[in-house]
C-alpha cells in the first residue's frame, strides 16, 4: 500500500461517499461535542424539519461558555451571568432533554470545558473523527484523532446525519527538533510555532506535530499544542498516538475494556505516518533554542521571547494599530509592562499539569498588590483533582481566586471580564482586541509566566522562580 500520513489514514477510514470534482466527501463523525452557545439554532433547524438526532450515542453535551464560575446552587444563581446567558443555559437543558442527549449539566461532577472533558472521560480516542461547534476542537488531535471546529449549520448536519460534507484538506508537517530547555513549556513552543508560520500559515491544512520534543510531552502538553493549531489558521492539528497516549486513556470511563481494549490498541498503533509518506508542506523548528514566549500584539502570531525587544515593522498600519491598542513600543521587551489581571484557565491551559506549573511558581509566594488573579480549572474533575493535591490552598494562600470550571475570562461571556485598558496576562489562546472585555489588553503566556507576572506585578520571566524552587 502507498505510504500514508496519519491524517490520511484517519480520513480514509471515515469516508462514506468519496469526493468528486462536483461534490465534497461525506465524512462520518465518531464523536460530536456540543455546548450551549453554538447549538441552539441547530436544534431549531431539527425542529423545523421534524428531524431526530441520528446518533445520540455519539453525541456528548456540556455547558461551559456562558456558565458562571462562581458556585451555583440553584438556577436562580444563573442570573449572575445575565438574563440572556441564563436563558441559553436553560435552553440547552431543554434541547438535550427533548432530543434525548447525554448532557453533563450543572449538577454533573463531570461538567467542564468541552475540550477538557472529552479527553478526561476517554471519549476522545485515537483515530476518531471529532467535531464541535468550536474552533478549539483541534485540541483532541493530540490523541491522533481528526478533530476540527464547525459552524452551527454544520452542527445541525451532524445532529441530523452524523456526517459532514468536507473537501479533503492539505497536510502540513511541523517538525520540532531537540528538547525544550528548562523553564520553557508547550505553550511557549506553540506560540513560537505560530510566530514562525503566521496566523494564516496553516490555512487549508491539517497540521501534524512531529519530532523529539513532541514525543517527550505528556498528554496535557500535547493538548496545549494541538489546541492552538487554529491560531495558525489550521482547522486541525494531530499527534500520532503512542504509549503516552495509551497510558493516559487506560481505565478512563468511556474507553473500551478487556479484549476490546487490546483490539483498540492494535488498531491505534497503526495510526502513524508511514516512512515515505509526503506532506504538502513542512516546517522545522528548533525547540532547544526557545525561551518563554509572550504576545505583544493583537493576534497570537505577534509574539516575542520574554527578553526580546518587540520588533519594528515601521509604518505598517495593522502593526501600528496593534501596538497602540496594546500600549507597547517597538524596541522594548514585554517585561516591565504592569499587569492588572492574571488569568490561568481555558481549554489551552486549565488541566492539572497546567495548574501544577502555576502552583510551582506561586507556592509560598504572594500575588502583587493591586493584581487580581483568577484560577479557573478546566473541569469539575480537574478542580477536584487539584484540591486533592492541595493546589487550591496554594492559589488561595497566594491571594488568587479559585473558581468553578468554565471558559470564564477566555472570552468573557459569563461576566468574568477585564475593564477597558486593563492588561491581563492570560494562559488562554486569543489576544484579539476586546476578547476579554471591551478595550481590554491581553498578553498570552504559559501558566508559569502568568504566575510569575502575578507575583511581580508586571510581565515577568518565570525561570528565576523555578530555579529558586
Amino acid at each position: 500500500m502507498k505510504p500514508a500520513t496519519l491524517f490520511e489514514k484517519v480520513w480514509n477510514r471515515h469516508v462514506v461517499v468519496p469526493e468528486t470534482a462536483d461534490t465534497p466527501a461525506i465524512l462520518f463523525i465518531d464523536l460530536h461535542l456540543i455546548h450551549e452557545v453554538t447549538s441552539p439554532q441547530a436544534f431549531q433547524l431539527l425542529r423545523e424539519q421534524g428531524l431526530p438526532v441520528r446518533r445520540p450515542d455519539l453525541t456528548l453535551a456540556t455547558m461551559d461558555h456562558s456558565t458562571p464560575t462562581t458556585p451555583v446552587t440553584t438556577f436562580k444563581d444563573l442570573a449572575v451571568v445575565g438574563e440572556k446567558a441564563a436563558a441559553q443555559i436553560v435552553q440547552m437543558e431543554k434541547n438535550c432533554g427533548e432530543f434525548g442527549l447525554d448532557l453533563l449539566g450543572f449538577d454533573s461532577a463531570q461538567r467542564g470545558i468541552v475540550h477538557v472533558i472529552g479527553p478526561e472521560l476517554g471519549a476522545t480516542q485515537p483515530g476518531k473523527t471529532i467535531v464541535c461547534g468550536d474552533s478549539h476542537t483541534s485540541t483532541h488531535g493530540a490523541f491522533g484523532a481528526l478533530a476540527f471546529g464547525i459552524g452551527t449549520t454544520e452542527v445541525g448536519h451532524v445532529l441530523a446525519t452524523q456526517c459532514l460534507l468536507q473537501r479533503r484538506p492539505k497536510t502540513l508537517a511541523v517538525n520540532v527538533e531537540g528538547r525544550l530547555p528548562f523553564g520553557v513549556g508547550p505553550k511557549d513552543l506553540i506560540l513560537a510555532i505560530i510566530g514562525q508560520i503566521g496566523v494564516d500559515g496553516g490555512t487549508g491544512h491539517v497540521i501534524e506535530y512531529r519530532g523529539e520534543a513532541i514525543r517527550a510531552m505528556d498528554m496535557d502538553a500535547r493538548m496545549t499544542i494541538c489546541n492552538m493549531s487554529i491560531e495558525a489558521g489550521a482547522r486541525a492539528g494531530m499527534i500520532a498516538p503512542d504509549e503516552t497516549t495509551f497510558a493516559y486513556l487506560e481505565g478512563r470511563e468511556r474507553v473500551p475494556r478487556g479484549d476490546d481494549w487490546d483490539a483498540a490498541i492494535a488498531r491505534w498503533k497503526e495510526l502513524v505516518t508511514d516512512d515515505g509518506a509526503s506532506f504538502d508542506k513542512s516546517v522545522t523548528i528548533d525547540a532547544s533554542s526557545l525561551e518563554p514566549m509572550v504576545t505583544y500584539g493583537t493576534n497570537p502570531g505577534m509574539v516575542v521571547g520574554i527578553d526580546e525587544p518587540i520588533p519594528d515593522h515601521g509604518e505598517d498600519a495593522g502593526f501600528r494599530k496593534a501596538l497602540d491598542y496594546m500600549q507597547v513600543e517597538s524596541g522594548k521587551p514585554m517585561t516591565g509592562n504592569a499587569v492588572d489581571i492574571v488569568f490561568v484557565g481555558s481549554c489551552t491551559n486549565s488541566r492539572i499539569s497546567d495548574l501544577e506549573q502555576a502552583a510551582a511558581v506561586l507556592r509560598g509566594r504572594h500575588v502583587a498588590e493591586g493584581v487580581r488573579m483568577l484560577v479557573v480549572p478546566g473541569s469539575q474533575q480537574v478542580k477536584a483533582q487539584a484540591e486533592a493535591r492541595g493546589l487550591d490552598r496554594v492559589f488561595i494562600d497566594a491571594g488568587a481566586e479559585w473558581r468553578e470550571s468554565g471558559c470564564s475570562m477566555c472570552l468573557g461571556m459569563n461576566g468574568d471580564t477585564a475593564q477597558r485598558g486593563q492588561l491581563t496576562v492570560s494562559t488562554s489562546n486569543r489576544n484579539f482586541e476586546g476578547r476579554q472585555g471591551v478595550g481590554a489588553r491581553t498578553v498570552l503566556a504559559s501558566p508559569a509566566t502568568a504566575a510569575a507576572s502575578a507575583i511581580r506585578g508586571h510581565v515577568a520571566d518565570p525561570r528565576p522562580f523555578l530555579k529558586e524552587a
Partner: protein
C-alpha cells in the same frame, strides 16, 4: 436558502488584515438562541466608542457605505472562532459578499452556507479594489467572475458544490439526507 446568481453593488473597504470573528461580533452578543437581529452588533467595538456613539471614521459608518453589499477586506478575513454568528451578523446588515486575498477556512464554510459569498481574488485585483473604495462591481456567481468598472473581469476560485448550492438555493442538509442509505451502509460496516 435563497438562490444567489449575481451581486452588483458599490464596495465598502476594510483594508486591515486578520479581521477576526471576535471583531466581527464580540462574544458578549453570542448569548442569543436565534439567528436574527445580529446586524446591530456587527463590528460593535470598532463601530462605536466607549459611550456608544458611532465612530465617524469607521468604514461602515461613513455615509457612502450605506447600501453597499460587497465588503472588500484585508488578508485572512474571518480568522479565529467558529461562530456562525459572524456571517449571520454580516448578512443581517445587508452584506452579501466578502472579497479578500485569503479567507479563514471555517468562516468561509459558514458564510457559504448562509448565502454569503466569501471569495478570494488575485493580489492585483484586490489591490485595485482597496485603492478604489465605493467602486461599483459585479459578481457573476454562475460564472465565478468579478467585473470591475474598468470593464476588466477576473475569475475567482470556488468549490463547485458550494457554487451549485448558491446558484440553485439548495440547502446542503438536503443533499446529506438523500445519502442516508450510504450512511446506513457505512455504519453497518464498522467494527
Amino acid at each position: 436558502m435563497q438562490a444567489v446568481t449575481a451581486i452588483r453593488s458599490r464596495t465598502v473597504v476594510m483594508p486591515a488584515k486578520d479581521i477576526d470573528t471576535d471583531q466581527i461580533i464580540p462574544a458578549r452578543f453570542l448569548t442569543t438562541t436565534t439567528r436574527e437581529g445580529l446586524g446591530e452588533s456587527l463590528f460593535c467595538d470598532l463601530r462605536y466608542d466607549a459611550d456608544g456613539n458611532p465612530k465617524p471614521e469607521f468604514e461602515l459608518n461613513r455615509p457612502e457605505a450605506a447600501g453597499c453589499s460587497i465588503l472588500v477586506a484585508g488578508k485572512n478575513f474571518g480568522c479565529g472562532s467558529s461562530r456562525e454568528h459572524a456571517p449571520w451578523a454580516l448578512v443581517d446588515s445587508g452584506i452579501r459578499a466578502v472579497i479578500s486575498t485569503e479567507i479563514a477556512d471555517i468562516f468561509r464554510s459558514n458564510a457559504l452556507k448562509n448565502g454569503l459569498l466569501a471569495i478570494v481574488v488575485d493580489p492585483q485585483t484586490h489591490a485595485w479594489l482597496l485603492d478604489n473604495p465605493g467602486a461599483e462591481i459585479e459578481i457573476d456567481v454562475v460564472n465565478s467572475t468579478v467585473t470591475l468598472p474598468t470593464g476588466e473581469s477576473v475569475e475567482y476560485p470556488i468549490d463547485a458544490f458550494a457554487r451549485y448550492c448558491l446558484v440553485e438555493g439548495i440547502d446542503q442538509l438536503g443533499y446529506l439526507l438523500q445519502n442516508q442509505d450510504a450512511i446506513r451502509d457505512y455504519e453497518a460496516s464498522r467494527p
